[in-house]
Amino acid sequence: MAKAATKRASAAAPPTPNRERPPEPKRYEATKEELLEFYRQMLLIRRFEERAGQLYGLGLIGGFCHLYIGQEAVAVGLQSAMKPGHDSVITGYRDHGHMLAYGIDPKVIMAELTGREAGISRGKGGSMHMFSTEHKFYGGHGIVGAQVSLGTGLAFGHKYSGDGGICLAYFGDGAANQGQVYESFNMAQLWNLPIIFVIENNQYAMGTSVNRASAEDQLYKRGESFRIPGIQVDGMDVLAVRGAAETVVDWVRSGKGPVLMELKTYRYRGHSMSDPAKYRSREEVQAVREKSDPIEAAKRDLEKLGVSEDELKQLDKEIRAIVAESADFAEQSPEPEPSELYTDVLVETY
């Protein structure tokens, strides 16, 4: 009853914007080359993650390992509109895809997953804790929601130093219920910081669906009481994501303050490797794979643009080779020296 009443009330009084909002995003019109590149990146993430899952099964990767399969269009669409090394990116523990989309070498990522000396964190971080200050990729954080405050701090740094950069801070539908997210929204808007808050709504916070956890399940509205404009985007369509990213990046870079984006997406795998995913049916997953897969959709668009089946097969082969090479590298690299145990605790000696 209460639910029906709420619906009527909202239908009766549509929110009238009393302030400027970013324009309605348009689906990006990619050239053949651009779309081919998006496709290549998404495929690289997919194949990389599939291989990571395999290595986990073989015991070469330990602990927690959260795969990005199904969500590829989000990182690729958004980060293709950013400048690596200039704009900062920060995310939670499901971070492999964001790193690959920022052009970080798959070999050092895979070697980190296997806990080797050559890993990007020298084997001391693991799947959830990877960073590349060179690319301004700031992790890789294991505490749900922490990256939102940290990202707000990175945006504060961009504004403070006047370097023209912006920050992209990813979090999930689960993190969207953490208190510090709203503390950060408040400060980001209050101080007009150059930050894009991105909710990757993959429908499940571990095993809890959005509807079971969120009183307001339209997560893009979550910034409204802080006067942060929200935009909901189809996160399974890389061109829709890229189009929205263009609009939002322009808005934020021009100094108009933060924007909240909700990317509706879906993860095909469990929350982590140890999740049997009993909270949803196999049919549900299968239906998304068949109807909404971002890579298959891009493939259809490429075919319309005249890219041949053979070209795509060739690309797939190249990507499989890159992934195989990174897996070999990750398996063959030595583990860290025992002396590494004591390094990097502090920077200075006292």
């Binding site: 971080g125 804790h129 960073f131 922490a146 740094g157 403070y160 950060s184 920077v347 200075e348």
Partner: protein, 471 residues
């Protein structure tokens, strides 16, 4: 009966003030709520309201008078038709109250006019009194000129000097800018550095600790002030999980040069949630630097070092000491090394190891022990992580007896750690078991008598020192 209007204590810290301005004159009728005068305290200008009705019969202290002691009769209020000509014009001398630092935040500020009695007999008062009796001389070469400064002034100067030197340094926290600091530690910084670098935050500890940490990861040098470290418990996730661990987790890629600072430890009569020593909590965490100085000179030299450090630093100040004055070296750039304890007093019979306000108690005890023929050495740890074991063990090797003095709980404490070190690495030097004097193992009570029972006292240190010296 004419009513005596007395100089009010407008904050729990106030001992005396300036009667800045009378807003009424003799002969004026006043009612409850009439604003009588403006009074300046060390922190702010406050209005003094009438509680009773009547006529202002006599103004005894003219406006512009400085150093009017709390409790001095400043005016006489007469009821209708009352003759007050016989009233003495001589102001009654007020009892000298000790200044005790209390939080200036709205959560604990008493209502003006409802003057709280300064708790002269409280445990916190005793701690301050011990500190006052036992100032620590600064660590400088013989003949260095010094200046008398309060702890809060020294901390402010440390921040201002580093901010002048390095554009990347900024201060962020609740009430640090326009209010000039809840404890006035950031006084004047907004005027000098502007609101880009001195930033008031909403009441949002978890959030701004994360923002500061993120800014440090991005290359800035934030100083994050917590109104007290009690509130930092809301932010402890960022201090430990984000700031302390990221350098390690990134294989040395991600620096986090940040200072988290603010008052720590027992305060006076503020109850259990506002009175706790977090030294042992943070000292437990690899990846953090933890500093807890006693005197103003050490505080200044170490805060400057903390701001320059490339590592995350938890800098624990003591709120009872903010108003205490110490000698601070008059040097352009007084920086002390992190991780070095100091011998605050030399002695040969027993070593008293302490840090923060406990050093005052230990020094006070050492003076009392001297009268009884026991020559105590006092080691001030200053940095809790990394802990300067060498200085502790060297002193133990000299005296062969040790008492640890800690204004904090006993279980899993810094004293536990010092005792373990003495066992593991100094066993052959021990002529008696190491003892410790700590607060009682209870949440800090409010009642003055109970609070006094809960906190450390010099007398207990004296007793412990006699025990380990078998006297």
């Amino acid at each position: 009966m004419p009513i005596e209007l007395k100089m009010p204590a407008l904050s729990p810290t106030m001992e005396e003030g300036t009667l800045a301005k009378w807003l009424v004159k003799e002969g004026d009728e006043v009612t409850s709520g009439t604003i009588l005068a403006e009074i300046e305290t060390d922190k702010a200008t406050m209005e003094f309201e009438a509680v009773d009705e009547g006529k202002v019969a006599k103004i005894l202290v003219p406006e512009g008078t400085d150093e009017v002691k709390v409790g001095t009769v400043i005016a006489i209020l007469a009821a209708d038709g009352e003759d007050v000509s016989a009233e003495s014009a001589a102001p009654a001398p007020a009892a000298k109250a000790k200044p005790i630092e209390l939080p200036a935040d709205q959560k604990t500020e008493p209502v003006p006019g409802n003057e709280a009695q300064t708790p002269k007999d409280s445990g916190a008062y005793q701690l301050v009194a011990a500190a006052e009796r036992a100032p620590e001389p600064p660590e400088v070469p013989e003949g260095t000129e010094t200046v008398r400064q309060t702890l809060r002034e020294a901390l402010r100067d440390a921040m201002a000097e580093e901010m002048r030197k390095d554009e990347r340094v900024f201060v962020m926290g609740e009430e640090v800018a326009e209010y000039q600091g809840a404890y006035k530690v950031t006084q004047g910084l907004l005027d000098e550095f502007g609101d880009k670098r001195v930033i008031d935050t909403p009441i949002t500890e978890y959030g701004f600790a994360g923002v500061g940490t993120g800014a440090a990861m991005g290359g800035l040098r934030p100083i994050i002030e917590f109104m007290t470290f009690n509130f930092a418990m809301q932010a402890i996730d960022h201090i430990i999980n984000s700031a302390a661990k990221t350098n390690y987790m990134s294989g040395g890629q991600m620096r986090c040069p940040i200072v988290f600072r603010g008052p720590n430890g027992a305060a006076s009569r503020v109850g259990a949630q506002h009175s706790q020593n977090y030294g042992p909590w943070y000292a437990n965490v690899p990846g953090l630097i933890v500093i807890a100085p006693y005197g103003a000179a050490d505080a200044k030299g170490l805060l400057k070092a903390a701001i320059r450090s490339q590592d995350p630093v938890v800098f624990l100040e003591n709120e009872l000491l903010y108003g205490q004055s110490f000698d601070v070296p008059k040097l352009d750039d007084y920086v002390l090394p992190i991780g070095k304890a100091r011998v605050a007093r030399e002695g040969k019979d027993v070593t008293l190891v302490s840090y923060s306000i406990g050093v005052g108690v230990a020094l006070d005890a050492a003076n009392q022990l001297a009268e009884q023929g026991i020559d105590a050495e006092v080691v001030d740890l200053r940095t809790l992580r990394p802990l300067d074991k060498a200085t502790v063990l060297k002193s133990l090797a000299k005296t062969n007896r040790m008492v640890v003095v800690e204004e904090g709980w006993p279980v899993c404490s810094i004293s536990s750690e010092i005792m373990a070190i003495a066992m593991e690495e100094g066993f052959d030097d021990l002529d008696a078991p190491v003892l410790r004097v700590t607060n009682e193992d209870v949440p800090l009570p409010y009642a003055a008598n109970l609070e006094k029972l809960a906190l450390i006292k010099a007398a207990d240190v004296v007793e412990a020192a006699k025990k380990v010296t078998y006297r």
